[in-house]
Amino acid sequence: MQLDFNNPKPIYLQMVDEVKKSLARGELKPGDKIPSHKEQAHLSKVNPNTVQRAYQEMEREGLTETLRGQGTFIKNDPELLVHIRSEMAQTAVQQFIEEMNGLGINPAETERLLSEHLYNGKKEV
């Protein structure tokens, strides 16, 4: 798990993001069991309270469900993956746009640069 302590984003949210990324990449699948709080704290060497907050957040977002006596599972919902991918794609685009704005590049130029790169990328493949 990649946690960045120089990133202003709270660690528990970074942990949630990591789980989402694993899902988007297919390393985790709906219905998969994820480590218990204690195991996760051990694996990532992070404070158990932080892990607990991450797990609460995942449950709140409907990413996981906890079955009594069995553990925590990624929700077995076929829609889930679609949601996560579009959510993460939205965030990535948003970040890109903000960065371009920060550089003072206007929307038209941003669009031109983006399509140029996408087009070039395709041509090389």
């Binding site: 946690l3 302590f5 120089n6 990133n7 202003p8 984003k9 709270p10 660690i11 528990y12 204690k38 704290a41 051990h42 990532s44 060497k45 992070v46 404070n47 158990p48 309270n49 932080t50 607990q52």
Partner: protein, 237 residues
């Protein structure tokens, strides 16, 4: 022991400590919530050890008040605190097993199974004499001594001091593993901010005997936009 959940583990009010002419602590007000791991950070001589010793009931304040688990420091409060001192306090002539047996006799709350488990996990040779252990191994033994007790408050003074990174990592893992957030609070002073950072819920920055900041680690990181390790110079200015 029954302690209400909302009661802070530690409450310090207007705490001062003077050693002859030197002011070690100048007016500390602090209230630590139950169930957290708190990092006590600050440069050498900022008063970290003095503060921990005072919480442990080993030294007395010049003025101000301390309540630990609802008690004023004394014989009764000591039974609710495990304290790991910075100095080597174990007898060199005893073996690791003898040390643990000897110490266990002092505490009704000693958990022999936990001690045995940590002994195994931290790869200590139980037949070695303490004086023949490396510094890193002695640090591991001190940690076992502190964490084998079932107490609401654990105070660790520089558990990584003078220890190589592999040992530090093992110690961090052990602290995380043994920490029970429902009934324990750990206060840990260290200079190894980098290794210790993932453990902390909250952080106290101590500078020249005063608390500069006491805040959740997440909030500090978002305020300064960097890790605790990189911010501590900015805080203590």
């Amino acid at each position: 022991m029954n302690i209400p959940d909302n009661q802070p583990v530690i409450e310090l009010k207007g705490l001062h400590k003077r050693y002859l002419l030197k002011h070690a602590l100048r007016g500390i007000d602090l209230s630590v919530r139950r169930g957290s791991i708190v990092g006590l950070l600050g440069p050498n001589g900022s008063g970290k050890s003095t503060l921990l010793k005072m919480m442990a009931g080993l030294i007395h304040p010049t003025s101000g008040s301390i309540t630990v688990n609802g008690l004023t420091p004394g014989a009764r409060s000591k039974s609710t605190i495990a304290y790991l001192p910075e100095i080597d306090h174990l007898y060199g002539g005893m073996t690791v097993t003898e040390t643990l047996t000897f110490i266990s006799a002092f505490y009704a709350d000693w958990q022999p199974d936990k001690a045995a488990e940590m002994l195994d996990r931290l790869e200590l040779d139980s037949n070695q004499k303490v004086r023949n252990l490396s510094k890193g191994m002695r640090a591991r033994l001190k940690l076992i001594v502190a964490l084998s007790r079932k107490v609401p408050l654990v105070l660790l003074d520089e558990p990584f001091s003078g220890i190589a990174p592999p040992s530090r990592e093992k110690i961090v893992r052990s602290i995380i593993e043994e920490f029970n957030s429902e009934e324990q609070t750990i206060i840990l002073s260290t200079h190894s901010v980098n290794e210790a950072e993932p453990m902390f819920d909250d952080v106290i920055f101590l500078f020249e005997g005063q608390i500069k900041r006491y805040e959740s680690a997440d909030r500090l990181r978002s305020e300064f936009g960097c890790s605790l390790e990189n911010m501590w110079e900015k805080v203590c200015m």
